[in-house]
């Protein structure tokens, strides 16, 4: 008897661990994300508390006119004269102006330090007043001569740069100048500013290198003793009244910066990671639901006995839910702790100086998410447990062969159809400006997944029959595997559905990226006439002097600069792109639905716009739109034409002559060009690359290379998605292991019988493996179908925005199905070994 209890206990332990793993993994993701973002935020706050120490008041230029509805923070430059005005205000101890522009690259031996895809550094002037600076030298000296530069500690370590070393510095791909590293500094003790590097120069150097043209971006002011920050702020504001500059206390400025930083951290790190964490937990909930269903089925006799002995339904329900709650709490605590370890590891990879911040909030969220999900998932099995009739205690426990209740199919249909309707509604009725409602979109996808999971049992029989067909060719093991997969459609379906979710999302993303790639390729082949393009793979714009250089090359022609900027059209924030319209037909061709593209070449203050934007803003050829530029310029543009957008070209287009007067700094985004007449493409490209030697940040690509670059970028994105969804898929595979292990346990007798009548261990393992493969392939079939549907719906919604091609990447889908089959085999290893080791005698003797 003891042996029996021990065995049951051991199998319980295994069961607990297998069940808990899914929740542990999901909660790990949640807690890791929370700890990571808390730590980043905390580090940033720590830095900022240093920053605002000595700054009583901060003056910034006016917010750009185009900032409506955007992240605040950016401001227009301040004229130098403002500094003099501020210094005269009574109570001011010191005031210093700072230029701060990102776009600085360090070059060494004609190469960008850290590689071309490296983020650029923030360029600033060195401030010597210790009250008004957050930078501290860790070695060397402050910049004193025009060619001194101080760089941040992390850039120095990563690039193996030392004090005294010569280095080339370039701002937005302007011609590189030689500097000497005079020192290495930290920012508030951190080796970078929120992982962005920095380079510090003397003020005159910063002014000229960063093209500030006698302006500042920020003026920091310290107060004489006895003057409060608020008093000083009001006095400065009064002195500057009449101009629209922004005046804040140091504390206000710091908290605004902090808020922007927090928004940005959440937007780019926290929220995306939490979405993937949620997906993992969601997939885990399927596993929980399945495990508890199987447990309830296996404990039918025990639970029926309880009922026969007088336990109420409520008590049986409570029994199951309590077990779920305990499992949930246990798993959440473990997941929370593992999450901290993972976050710690990640933080060490990115920045060793950050101190881990574990907040109570993270614990509470992790506990709630893990426990609530587990309990919700256990509700249905618990309710099923209450329906066990007491007489079941007297019956021989047979592994059940289930039917499907109608309510379930009904609920599945409602969820699936409702989700589909919600999805289409949110996608196709979305306004062009606001985009689809992401909450509705997310909930709809969730409903589709749940609906599919509920409906999946109907598909188990036919799909298992079709998929089981090749298995049957392998004789009895394959045959029996097919029967086993079908004997309990709900169990098989729920196990498959967990895998479906991960695969569906991967498939949807694959469809979207493939469609994007096809659309961009079509655009490159159709709209783009230029055979060569110059661009900066790392960051945004580059200096117009590049174009000037290229124009001197006789092997090149049609040099066409393309630059864009933010504008308000009416009160809608959007962008406008300007290009050299002199070469228009040889650089770009448009398919016009009205008016003519040449209109922007012949008349200034004329624009052409894509048909989608025109429709949504009610713009017509011959009409006028008012564009407000960042610097406040308001220009009436006449609409010269309407064109069909594609994946690369959309929005408002104007000539450079129209655009340039309204730009604070002229920066090219790309240069499109052609070989000069009679020059072959390879010769022209060789010459181009030679011209670009002085600008190692830039690449000169043929159209084919440009296409390859884009597909490489899309592939990188797809790989990132694989990694992020990997955990959800892994959890689903654990789910297959779990289901099979429990099934094997349940079928001990049957397995023993099969072994007794001559099934070899190998055949037994093969049988379990086939069942696993069938489950996994069912998940793949569902996932590929649902995912393709999702992807196609999303792409169709983007048709009017220029994503004109819908591409279903067949190779990828085949790959996913094959991968799913392999996952099935891997998942079967452990259960198959167990199955092949069942004790035949225990199976055939009646206890």
């Amino acid at each position: 008897m003891f042996k029996v209890s021990l065995r049951s206990l051991l199998s319980h332990k295994l069961r607990l661990v297998l069940t808990a793993i899914s929740i542990i993994l999901g909660v790990t993701f949640v807690s890791g994300t929370l700890v990571l973002t808390d730590t980043i935020r905390n580090t940033f706050e720590g830095v900022l508390s240093n920053v605002d120490k000595g700054v009583a008041v901060q003056v910034k230029g006016p917010a750009p006119a185009t900032a409506a509805g955007r992240l605040s923070g950016a401001s227009l430059p301040l004229p130098e004269s403002v500094l003099a005005q501020v210094r005269k205000v009574s109570g001011v101890a010191d005031a210093v102006g700072t230029v701060e522009r990102s776009g600085v690259s360090l070059l060494s031996n004609g190469q960008v330090v850290g590689g071309t895809d490296q983020r650029t550094l923030l360029g600033l002037n060195w401030v010597s007043d210790p009250q008004l600076t957050t930078f501290e030298l860790t070695s060397g000296t402050a910049p004193r001569t025009a060619d001194d530069v101080v760089i941040n500690a992390r850039t120095a370590t990563d690039g193996h740069l030392v004090v005294g070393q010569q280095i080339q510095v370039s701002f937005e791909a302007s011609a590189a100048q030689t500097f000497v590293i005079s020192g290495i500094a930290t920012f508030g003790g951190q080796n970078s500013i929120a992982s962005e590097g920095f380079a510090l120069f003397t003020l005159p150097t910063a002014e000229s290198l960063l093209e500030a043209n006698s302006t500042f971006d920020v003026i920091d002011v310290s107060a004489q003793s006895g003057v409060t920050d608020l008093q000083l702020r009001d006095r400065v504001a009064a002195a500057l009244s009449g101009s629209s500059v922004q005046v804040q206390t140091g504390a206000q400025a710091a908290s605004q910066t902090e808020q922007n930083a927090v928004t940005e951290i959440n937007l780019f790190i926290g929220t995306p990671l939490l979405v993937f964490a949620f997906i993992a937990v969601f997939v885990g909930s399927f596993l929980i639901a399945n495990t508890f269903s199987i447990l309830v089925a296996q404990r039918t006799q025990e639970l029926a006995l309880l009922r026969a002995l007088g336990a109420t339904r409520g008590q049986v329900f409570t029994e199951v839910i309590t077990e779920a709650t305990l499992t949930g709490i246990f798993a959440s605590v473990v997941g929370f702790l593992v999450g901290i370890v993972v976050a710690d590891g990640l933080i060490h990879i990115f920045s060793s100086s950050a101190k881990l911040s574990v907040q109570l909030n993270a614990l509470i969220v992790s506990l709630l998410v893990g426990t609530i999900i587990t309990v919700i998932a256990a509700v249905a099995p618990a309710r099923r447990a209450t329906r066990i009739a007491p007489v079941a205690a007297l019956r021989q426990a047979e592994p059940e062969i289930q039917g499907l209740p109608r309510t379930r199919i009904g609920a599945g249909l409602v969820l699936f159809l409702g989700g589909t309707a919600g999805l289409l509604q949110s996608l196709f009725t979305a306004s062009a400006a606001a985009g689809p409602n992401l909450e509705v979109l997310g909930l709809s996808v969730l409903a589709i997944f749940l609906g599919t999971a509920l409906l999946a049992p109907i598909l188990v029989r036919p799909v298992a029959t079709v998929l089981g067909w090749p298995a049957r060719l392998r004789g009895a093991p394959g045959r029996l595997a097919g029967e086993n997969a079908r004997r309990n459609p709900r169990r098989t379906a729920l196990t498959s559905a967990a895998l479906m979710i991960g695969l569906a999302l991967v498939t949807a993303v694959a469809v979207i990226t493939a469609s994007l790639e096809a659309s961009i390729n079509q655009s490159i082949d159709g709209t783009v006439r230029a055979q060569l393009v110059v661009l900066d793979e790392g960051s945004g714009g580059f200096s117009p002097e590049v174009a000037t250089t290229l124009r001197q090359d006789p092997k090149l022609a049609d040099i066409s600069e393309i630059r864009g900027t933010d504008v308000l059209v009416g009160d809608i924030a959007t962008g406008v792109t300007g290009f050299d319209t002199g070469n228009i037909g040889r650089v770009l061709t448009f398919s016009m639905t009205a008016g003519s593209a040449a209109s922007i070449a012949t008349t200034t203050n004329t624009t052409i716009v894509d048909s989608t934007e025109a429709a949504s803003e009610n713009i017509h050829v011959g009409g006028t739109v008012t564009m407000t530029f960042a610097n406040g310029d308001k220009v009436n543009m006449s609409v010269g034409g309407i064109y069909t957008p594609d994946a690369l070209i959309s929005g408002f287009l104007v000539s450079l002559d129209t655009l340039n007067p309204h730009l604070t700094t002229a920066r090219d985004a790309d240069i499109a060009l052609n070989p000069a007449p009679g020059v072959s493409l390879p010769t022209a490209q060789a010459s181009l690359l030679n011209d670009l030697r002085a600008y190692p940040q830039l690449s000169g690509l043929t159209r084919t290379q440009y296409k390859n670059l884009i597909s490489a970028g899309l592939n990188t994105f797809l790989n990132l998605i694989y990694v992020l969804l990997g955990l959800a898929i892994f959890i689903a595979v654990v789910g297959i292991v779990n289901t099979l292990a429990l099934s094997v346990l349940e079928r001990t007798r049957e397995l023993g019988l099969l072994r007794a009548v001559g099934m070899t261990r190998g055949q037994t393992r093969e049988m379990v493996a086939w069942e696993s493969v069938i489950i996994a392939l069912l998940g793949a079939v569902l996932g590929l179908a649902v995912g393709s549907g999702l992807g196609i719906a999303l792409v169709s919604a983007l048709h009017s925005d220029g994503i004109s091609q819908t591409a279903v990447p067949g190779n990828n889908l085949i790959l996913y199905a094959v991968a799913a089959g392999l996952f099935g085999i891997v998942a079967a290893i452990f259960p198959a070994i167990r199955a092949s080791r069942v004790d035949i005698l225990r199976a055939v003797t009646t206890e």
Partner: protein, 251 residues
Amino acid sequence: MPPLPAAAAAISIAARTVDAVKVYGRGDTAVRALDGITADFTAHQFTAIMGASGSGKSTLLHCLAGLDRLTAGQTFIGGYELGQLNDRQLTLLRREKVGFIFQSLNLVPTLNALDNILLPLTIAGRKPDPGVVDGVVQITGIGDRLRHRPSELSGGQQQRVAAARALVSRPEIIFADEPTGNLDSKASGELLGFLRKAVDDLGQTIVMVTHDAFAASHTDRVVFLADGRAVQEMRSPTTDSVLAVVRHLGE
């Protein structure tokens, strides 16, 4: 399939044990379930093994059938010494030469009656001989139930399906462990009649463990066990003669 080891001996002996010893556990708790049994089971005969509960009947059957291994001594089936075979060879031997009927839960619940009957052939990847299958189905009288799953069959029908399964691969020997143990007397009678017919009409060899004198009366020969030894033998048993021996042994 690798060739089984060469045959050793035996012509009309379908199975044999020589000084078979089986010890469960060790030390103080060791149980000698078989204590040196030597016995032959003649081909084309229906043999019963009887004895008090715990006398070692099931253990003997399991060791004879290659489901379990002896502690000492030898068992032979069709000339193969089971102790010489590894797990895979034993499995193949069970598949090719041995049929089983257990007391209950004999069938695979996902397969219908016919598929259950054909299971050993399916596992072996052999094509069923339609004549043999029809014959077996005929004798068992479950022809109208072939498409039913086990859960839709009565206990007696299930046991007859199990018997048909044991027969269909025409094994050299069939072992049955209390096949009527869970059946009422009518169903028992039918099953025993069927087994008897398999021996008489098809020349099958059957060894059946039972504690039921009426069941034993259907056999050609009864081997009585007590404390892991073969203590007595009887040919052409009747219910009364068997009961007499059982009573005598019980004293």
